[in-house]
């Protein structure tokens, strides 16, 4: 019997059954993929880190190193199992050439290492420790993915020729989020190129017991050992390895929640419409003594069938996509040892979706219990009580025409019924507007203020070279005599140690120079003017726990010096942790130098950029627009793409939900529709009434969605941006697109969906619904 009922029902509503099945399948597929990916990712990371024997504690250090002191510390510390210091040879990207192109434009810090002896091994793509021969070069896996190099290619490093023998997985620096990348060469080759770059040290420890990590870290810091560079621990390595694929999994999970919510809404609206259609029959079944659970089973059977079909389809589809999604994990981290569990978790994920749907249908069907058999048989439709809006009377209405009045009145009288549609429209407006505003904000020129740089026309970067100060002086001298340049500022970045309130130390990249020439926006305070003042980036201020007016101790030329925090500014460059000061310092090594210039005429920018680039080939010269584009171009374009995708998704959801909702409403209201038709209302009148309902809900939805987007949305976007180091984030809204085009797109979608969704109203026969 169930089979026949299900078959007939599905045949009657093919389109909606197919839509629901597709959404269930998509939700099942995504949940299953997320489960499979989580298991594989964690398994692959474990395998990689186990085989590579990733250090538990790693301190990067540049400058003088005292190996003896470090060895003595390692021997004396009871937690240490093994200890080693590796060299990492930083080489300018320009000096690394594959085929025609160099890595000059590459954002990564590329460097060279030899295979370590004790732990922290570099592995080949089979997961084995690489034995590298002279003349061979192993290239980080990310360069295989972006086709920079292939096995057998020639690579020229600082003029020395190598053959790419293979690619390597680096359990420390694999992640695209890790800014350094290690190439592997033989000991002999390394010795040859050693003087052609700057050496950094990786001071690495493996502990006997990882749980002693915090105690060890404290011991290392209090021993005052080498620490001119970042410290990374085992859990952070794990996190770094997991984060980019983890983000993808998080996105898949989020999307799956969204898809499942749509599937649930499809089910809810179609089920409610079906219950309304069958209202009298349900009443009869109850009246003749069938138990509610028996009646429920008939309806449940159909959705269980859809859920099972959707889940099977979703599982099959997950096989199609899993290879594609696992490819990245496999490439970067290798096979997982527990991939057999993955299938189990994948199936478990699908079962979860299946059970959730069945449980949901069961909950929706609970209304059978309240259904009065007598009422159902008598009226054939549910008898809802209308509430509210009593004072909104037709007899006193002078504002709307009668059809619009009936539309608005219905929404006011049955608020809870329209709440679902309103929520969907609010969310749609939100997802349309927020990414759009974010995209507009980060692509606007004023976004430069979040980047910790003032408003200039041209920017010259001098880094990864020697004699930076001499070279900067040379450029400065040229600029002084260049009449096209109205003003310029030389800002030199050096690292100083700051003492935190808990006594520990932290390196701060401090930009020294005159900050009044190209001022940045300070969220609090002002630019440093006196020798004893320092301005901190938001992230540094947070991390050091400092506010404007507080003191901070910096080690300058070997002596501790107390400075006052005079301002806090937004900076999303250099990891968001920078500072600005004006004091003079002759000791510490210069990390880089930036020269900003303003031209008398903006049209001269491109000419001046090429002139300075030709003249000073050691410097990177760029127009400010180009600089923003280079630094954030890919982010701007990704956010742009994401905002367009969000608009499409939101509109599809709007159309689908409106369509289903209207379909349900027509089923629910068929008695009223029949009455109105009997008394002389035309099909067009009825349709206009439904359009008025939609438009009324739409207007409220758009207004609320826009308000929410500009308040909560701005806060959310601000939170994301502030994680990169910006503060006091404000949306740059394009009113034409946000307040005109977006609402029009939504209105168009809602109207089309309403017109299609209410087409059933024209087919309602008067005599079938009001005949006694």
């Amino acid at each position: 019997m169930y089979y026949r009922i299900i078959r007939n029902d599905i045949l009657k509503s093919k389109a909606i059954t197919l839509t629901t099945t597709i959404f269930v399948a998509a939700a099942a597929m995504l949940v299953s993929l997320a489960a499979i990916l989580v298991v594989n990712l964690s398994g692959s990371i474990d395998t990689l880190m186990k085989r590579a024997e990733t250090p538990h504690f790693m301190q990067m250090h540049s400058g003088v190193i005292d190996i003896k002191r470090l060895t003595a510390f390692a021997e004396q510390n009871g937690h240490v199992d093994e200890f080693q210091v590796l060299e990492f040879l930083n080489v300018d990207g320009v000096q690394i050439v594959f085929g025609e192109g160099s890595l000059g434009d590459n954002v990564q810090d590329n460097g060279f290492s030899i295979q370590s002896e004790k732990f922290d091994y570099l592995l080949d793509l089979d997961g084995n420790v690489i034995n590298v021969s002279d003349g061979e070069l192993y290239v980080p896996i990310c360069y295989m993915k972006d086709n920079t190099a292939r096995v057998g290619d020639k690579g020229v490093i600082c003029g020395k020729e190598f053959t790419v023998a293979g690619f390597l997985r680096d359990s420390q620096m694999n992640s695209t989020l890790s800014s350094s990348k290690r190439f592997l060469v033989s000991k002999n080759d390394y010795a040859e190129i050693r003087n052609l770059g700057s050496t950094e040290y990786l001071i690495e420890f493996r502990l006997k017991d990882l749980s002693a990590l915090v105690a060890f870290e404290t011991a290392y810091i209090s021993a005052g050992l080498e620490a001119n560079g970042p410290t990374i621990t085992y859990p952070l390595f794990r996190l770094l390895n997991a984060i980019s694929d983890g983000m993808m999994i998080a996105v898949i999970l989020l999307v799956s929640v969204l898809v499942a919510a749509i599937a649930f809404m499809c089910i809810r609206f179609t089920l409610l419409a079906k219950i309304e259609d069958d209202y009298r029959e349900i009443g009869v079944m109850k009246a003749i003594g069938l138990r509610v659970s028996d009646v429920k089973k008939i309806y449940l059977a159909k959705y269980a069938a859809i859920a099972v079909a959707g889940s099977i389809l979703g599982f099959a589809l997950s096989f199609v996509f899993r290879g594609m999604l696992l490819e990245n994990i496999r490439l970067y981290m290798g096979e997982s040892e527990n991939s057999s569990f993955a299938m189990f978790f994948g199936i478990a994920g699908i079962l979860l979706v299946l059970l959730a749907i069945i449980a949901y249908v069961w909950v929706v069907l609970r209304r059978f219990r309240k259904l009065s058999a007598a009422e159902a048989i008598r009226f054939g439709t549910s008898q809802e009580k209308s509430v509210g809006a009593r004072s909104f009377c037709l007899s006193r209405n002078r504002l709307f025409d009668t059809n619009s009045f009936l539309g608005v009145k219905d929404v006011l009288a049955r608020k809870s019924l329209y709440a679902t549609m309103l929520v969907v429209l609010v969310i749609s407006a939100f997802i349309i507007i927020v990414p759009q505003n974010l995209s507009n904000t980060i692509s606007s020129k004023s976004f430069i203020t979040y980047m910790g740089i003032g408003n200039c026309d041209m920017r010259i970067d001098i880094q990864q070279t020697d004699n930076i100060s001499r070279k900067a002086a040379e450029i400065s001298k040229t600029m002084r005599s260049d009449s096209a340049i109205t003003k310029y500022a030389v800002l030199t970045t050096k690292t100083f140690k700051a003492t935190k309130s808990d006594g520990s130390e932290q390196s701060i990249k401090t930009e020294l120079g005159d900050h009044s020439i190209f001022p940045v926006e300070y969220s609090e305070g002002r630019a440093p003017a006196a020798e004893n003042e320092i301005a901190l980036s938001v992230m540094n201020a947070d991390e050091l726990g400092k506010t404007v007016g507080e003191g901070i101790t910096l080690v300058i030329e070997g002596k501790e010096r107390n400075l006052t925090v005079c301002g806090i500014y937004s900076d999303i460059t250099n990891g968001g942790k920078t500072a600005k000061a004006v004091f003079s310092d002759n000791s510490a090594g210069i990390m880089w130098c930036v020269i900003s210039a303003e031209l008398a005429d903006e049209s001269l920018v491109s000419g001046k950029v090429s002139e300075y680039a030709d003249r000073f080939d050691f410097a990177k010269v760029s127009g400010i627009d180009e600089y923003i584009n280079q630094t954030f171009g890919s982010t701007i374009s990704s956010v742009g793409k994401a905002s367009r995708a969000a608009i499409i998704v939101a509109l599809i959801i709007t159309v689908l939900v409106t369509l289903l909702f209207m379909n349900m409403l027509v089923a629910k209201d068929r008695y009223s529709i029949a009455v109105m038709k009997a008394f002389g209302f035309t099909n067009l009148d009825i349709r206009l009434q439904y359009v008025s309902r939609s438009v009324f809900v739409l207007i409220i939805g758009i207004v609320l969605g826009t308000l929410l987007a500009n308040t909560l949305g701005e806060v959310l976007a601000g939170t994301v941006i502030s994680s990169f180091g910006a503060s006091s984030f404000k949306f740059q809204v394009n009113p034409f697109s946000a307040y005109l085009i977006s609402p029009l797109m939504m209105a168009g979608s809602v109207l089309i969906a309403t017109i299609i969704g209410t087409s059933g109203a024209g087919k309602i026969k008067i005599y079938e619904n009001i005949k006694e």
Binding site: E384, K385, L394, A413, M676, F679, G680, T682
Partner: protein, 252 residues
């Protein structure tokens, strides 16, 4: 007498294939201006279907229905709606009022569709009708706050708003107790006395006895007709006896 509705050889069927059954099997009927007629017959004889076919709410398979000389079968949906709204009135067994509207709004609703600018005039007329049928004090009430008889009176007010040429009633007293039923019939008789034709479908001999022409239906056909003098408020029992005798004769 001028005819307002003419049905000629109306055939209407339900079901398909072997299940197909003629509910109206070649029915011809005429209703004159100001006439008070009723249709009686056992359940399933086609009474209500005949009424729905004559007022254009339901299509027919063959035959012809004309209203004031216009062939309903060739009219578009909007034109049929216009005729129902402006020239006909309807009273059903269940008070077909909308839940979202109060009593007054329900009554003025069809009239307001065309004449929103005359809202004040329309409302005034509705109040006068409400007073006439004795529900003047109920205008702001929800439809759940009044009795079945009061709702039916509101339904009659709505039917009268457009000064219809004819009022169709499908068991208008079927859901009411005898006191309310009599009151409704009194109102309908009064309306008819003022010149509006009334066609009622009923099982109730007491209702039929108020009318001047009774058509008896069986198996989709009008099998007999009975004429009575115009009801003047007296001798209802005699009229009823005659109607019941005819019903017995027809096996109803």
């Amino acid at each position: 007498m001028k005819k307002i509705i003419m049905g000629e050889n109306i055939v209407k069927s339900f079901g398909e294939g072997d299940e197909k059954r003629n509910v109206l099997d070649g029915v011809s009927v005429e209703i004159n201006e100001g006439e008070f007629v009723s249709v009686m017959g056992p359940s399933g004889s086609g009474k209500s279907t005949l009424m729905f076919s004559l007022c254009g709410m339901d299509g027919i398979d063959s035959g012809k229905v004309t209203f004031s000389g216009r062939d309903l079968s060739v009219l578009k949906e909007q034109e049929l709606a216009d005729i129902r709204r402006t020239k006909m009135g309807f009273v059903f067994q269940q008070p077909t009022l909308l839940k979202n509207l109060n009593i007054l709004d329900n009554i003025i609703l069809p009239s307001m569709r065309d004449n929103r600018k005359n809202a004040a005039k329309i409302t005034k007329k509705a109040r006068a009708l409400m007073k006439k049928v004795g529900i003047a004090e109920l205008e702001k009430r929800d439809i759940t706050q009044v009795s079945g008889g009061q709702l039916q009176r509101a339904g009659i007010c709505r039917a009268l708003m457009s000064n219809p040429k004819i009022i169709f009633g499908d068991e208008p007293t079927g859901a009411l107790n005898s006191k309310y039923a009599q009151e409704i019939m009194d109102i309908l008789s009064e309306i008819n006395a003022e010149g509006t034709a009334v066609m009622l479908v009923t099982h109730d001999a007491k209702v039929a006895a108020r009318t001047e022409r009774i058509m008896f239906m069986r198996d989709g056909k009008i099998v007999s007709e009975m004429r009575l003098p115009k009801f003047n408020g007296t001798h209802i029992d005699d009229r009823m006896i005659k109607v019941m005798a005819k019903m017995r004769e027809m096996g109803i």
